[in-house]
């Protein structure tokens, strides 16, 4: 009798621990999981390689002949690879959560760490810590490609083109913004994948959002008011305005404003995902 009472009073040390302490453990656990996932290193390497390759290829394919009209935004041109790199960022984010659902690991995870939003926060933090360095390398490589290739293709300072260099303020802004853009795309994808759970459906949804959403503005060509609203407030369209360095006055939304819209989308979907985790069975 008294023995049973003693056992009942005995509690696991962690359950009483405050959230910030368990967050440290969750971080370590998620870091171990991500680190030991077979694809992580390959995907991170792919983000860098593919982004730089596509950017360099686009730079090489774009020539500005004398007398011809040319795309004026050299910075945006040399950051084209981000369009491809974001797909791999999304894949990494989807794998981070749906891998657990497909193997049933998620039940172990939640048994070990019952605070589900803390698990999601830890996943988001680890993902961001992995994506940021890869994005820095990818963006730096793309800028280097533009710096090396574009002047040779006719995009010279003499003809009024901004050289892709770190001395050019808007280029620095576009570069920093592109790194943040990739991180935000990762968070948005993680949130969507958490809500969807199935890996194939999550990949389809996220990539559909990334690549098909930009045509939404084409669909609305007849309704300029709605078209402008979509251009301003749809997640992907607005986020990429951070890459623009010319014609800023004609943009539907300012560069930082556009990135801010994407940040709000990412934050809102992460909150929704946390809520879904809490309400549903794993």
């Amino acid at each position: 009798m008294s023995q049973a009472l003693t056992i009942a009073r005995h509690r696991l040390p962690h359950s009483a621990a405050p959230a910030w302490e368990s967050f440290g453990d969750a971080l370590r656990a998620e870091w171990t999981k991500m680190r030991t996932m077979p694809g992580t290193a390959w995907i991170l390497a792919g983000i860098c390689a593919l982004t730089v390759a596509v950017s360099a290829g686009t730079d090489a394919a774009t020539k500005c002949t004398i007398g011809g009209a040319c795309a004026a935004d050299t910075t945006r041109l040399t950051l084209t690879g981000i369009e491809v790199g974001q797909a791999l960022v999304a894949v990494l984010a989807v794998l981070a959560i749906t891998g657990e659902y497909s193997t049933g690991m998620i039940r172990t995870t939640f048994a070990a760490m019952p605070r589900r939003s803390v698990v999601l926060a830890a996943k988001a933090s680890v993902l961001t810590c992995l994506v940021l360095p890869a994005a820095v390398v990818a963006v730096a490589g793309s800028l280097a490609a533009g710096w090396l290739i574009l002047p040779g293709n006719g995009f010279t300072a003499v003809r009024g083109f901004a050289l892709v260099s770190l001395a050019h303020g808007p280029t620095v802004r576009a570069a920093v913004g592109s790194v943040l853009y990739l991180a935000l795309i990762g968070l948005l994808s993680l949130a969507i994948a958490t809500m969807v759970r199935d890996s194939a459906v999550a990949t389809g949804s996220v990539l559909g959002l990334l690549y098909v959403a930009p045509i939404a503005s084409l669909l609305l060509a007849g309704q300029p008011v709605w078209q402008r609203r979509v251009q301003r407030y749809a997640p992907v369209n607005s986020g990429l305005t951070i890459e623009d360095t010319t014609g800023l006055r004609h943009l539907p939304i300012g560069p930082w404003g556009g990135l801010g819209v994407l940040a709000i989308w990412a934050a809102a979907s992460l909150l929704t995902a946390a809520l879904a985790l809490r309400l549903r069975d794993a």
Partner: protein, 529 residues
């Protein structure tokens, strides 16, 4: 005990025949019984049709009640038919010969479209490449009537053109007083033959046109016209939009001689298709002095292309109604990838392979089932999007270029086939990598991304053209319903136009599918399940 005499047990049932149809039936049952997959297929159909029909831009200015009255040529294609025509009637056979000594032009620098009667400022000298002046025999002065013409052009030398879509090159080089061009058209029944010459004595046949249903009395004479010039906002960015400006061309013709027809007939000037795609009123006309004709015209005689860059109307091709295919494709690719990767995840693949150990046949059955299912659903959805879409467009005041039933069939069934091929590609890659995420991501990035980058103008035109030739996205070329004309300058960009011909594009996608299927089959034999 005579243990050795006991025969081993054999089932009295005869062994079932290992038929391919049974394998197909098994795979179809697997597909059919997953409710989510069937629902997803219907979702794909809904997405294709919903986007395809919502895409119509209602013409807000006239509440959808002003569908442009675009003339159609003898072949049923939408055409521009506006030029200044100095003509007289010809009954029966005859021949007309002229010498062209000059072709000059003017271009509006202001951009935008000009309606009839509007006065234009800012004209600067400039001859557009396909400005035309020469001689023509036309069935009537009605727009879209059959014709054949011999013309001197801005920078493409002498041309014989007939029935709007046909173009044959004659003598090269620009025309001037020092090097004039002699042109001749000979009518004999329904056949009109064009000749050119640099000196008026040695003649060369350029081409011969057979104009079906040419009436006995036709109109013949001289013409001048000059098409809209299209300037894209950024030369390197497809679909970045641009501005069109009307232009004028003035031709000087002399040594006019007619054989046949009425002797001493009077020349009268007429603006065919007044105000269409160019200047009209005071800006155009003709002067006749001492046997020399100075004719100024504006407009074009030729096919209208999609995208509205060579006409004053907002035109599009039926590809407009196929934008929803992108979303449907994502859904179908996801299902096709899951069709194989879920077998691996759940371990069902071991049961499947135990039941039908010939792995190549199994892969073929799976590919055939998912291919047929996506083809049927895709074709049905696209048929609705195209047929209802054209009707909705007409209702909303959006002009969709007319297409022949055969082309329509090719677009509908071809787009269904493209969806099926994309699904089989996803299945094959799913069999190779055995992971849903990788399979879906690979196919979506390979097929959708190049197309989207081309349509939204993220990539420079040269790069997006290259990628639409070599990537699996080349398959989208099957959606192109209007041909590209070398004699018409305009914006040939996705979603209306693709760098590869329709079936060549589909063949590129087929090649990728074949390679992926081969790789999948090889790995399926080689690896443990």
């Amino acid at each position: 005990m005579t243990a050795g005499t006991i025969a081993p047990y054999r089932s009295p049932e005869k062994p079932a025949k290992d038929r391919f149809s049974q394998l197909m039936h098994a795979e179809w049952t697997k597909f059919r019984t997953v409710r989510g997959w069937l629902i997803a297929m219907f979702l794909a159909v809904v997405l294709i049709d919903m986007v395809g029909l919502l895409v119509v831009r209602p013409n807000v200015q006239c509440g959808g009640a002003c569908l442009p009255n675009v003339p159609t040529g003898p072949g049923g294609e939408a055409v521009n038919d506006s030029f200044y025509f100095v003509r007289q009637p010809l009954a029966g056979n005859g021949s007309i010969t002229v010498r062209v000594t000059s072709l000059t032009g003017q271009t509006s620098q202001t951009g935008g479209n000009f309606g009839p009667g509007q006065q234009q400022g800012g004209l600067t000298p400039g001859l557009v490449p396909w400005a035309k002046a020469g001689i023509i025999i036309a069935a009537s002065t009605r727009q879209g009537s059959p014709y054949a013409a011999m013309m001197v052009t801005g920078s493409h030398g002498v041309r014989m053109q007939y029935d709007f879509t046909q173009d044959i090159a004659g003598l090269p080089g620009a025309v001037s007083a020092a090097s004039p061009r002699w042109l001749r058209l000979v009518r004999s029944g329904d056949t009109i033959t064009g000749y050119d010459s640099a000196d008026g004595t040695r003649w060369a046949t350029v081409g011969s046109a057979s104009l079906a249903g040419l009436p006995g009395t036709v109109q013949w004479g001289m013409l001048a016209t000059s098409p809209l010039t299209f300037k894209s906002n950024f030369a390197t960015y497809a679909e970045s939009g641009g501005s069109v400006s009307p232009t004028l061309a003035t031709g000087v013709l002399d040594h006019v001689s007619l054989r046949g027809g009425q002797p001493g007939g009077q020349w009268t000037g007429v603006e065919v298709g007044a105000g269409g795609a160019g200047y009209s009123g005071h800006a155009v006309g003709f002067r006749q002095a001492h046997g020399q004709f100075t004719i100024t015209g504006s407009g074009d005689i030729g096919p209208v292309i999609g995208g509205g860059s060579n006409t004053e109307y907002d035109t599009s091709t039926v590809a407009l109604h196929l934008l929803g295919v992108l979303l449907g494709l994502v859904v179908m690719v996801v299902i096709a990838a899951m069709f194989i990767t879920l077998e691996y995840r759940r371990g069902l693949i071991r049961t499947t392979l135990a039941a039908s150990p010939r792995r190549g046949r199994l892969l073929a059955a799976k590919a055939l089932v998912i291919g047929l299912v996506t083809f049927v659903f895709g074709t049905a959805a696209v048929a609705v999007a195209v047929i209802v879409g054209i009707w909705v467009s007409r209702d909303g005041g959006q002009y969709v270029l007319p297409l022949s039933p055969l082309t329509g069939l090719r677009v509908i069934a071809g787009t269904g086939a493209m969806l099926a091929l994309a699904s089989v590609l996803a299945l094959s890659i799913g069999a190779v990598v055995r992971r849903s995420v990788a399979a879906v991501a690979a196919v979506v990035v390979a097929i959708l991304m190049p197309y989207i980058l081309g349509v939204t103008g993220v990539l420079p035109a040269s790069a997006s053209e290259w990628i639409l030739r070599v990537s699996p996205a080349a398959g989208f070329a099957i959606e192109q319903s209007a041909p590209q004309y070398h004699q018409v300058i305009g914006q040939y960009a996705p979603p209306d136009y693709f760098p590869l011909p329709p079936f060549a594009g589909l063949a590129v996608l087929c090649g990728y599918v074949a390679v992926a299927l081969g790789l999948a089959s090889w790995l399926l034999h080689r690896r443990d399940a």
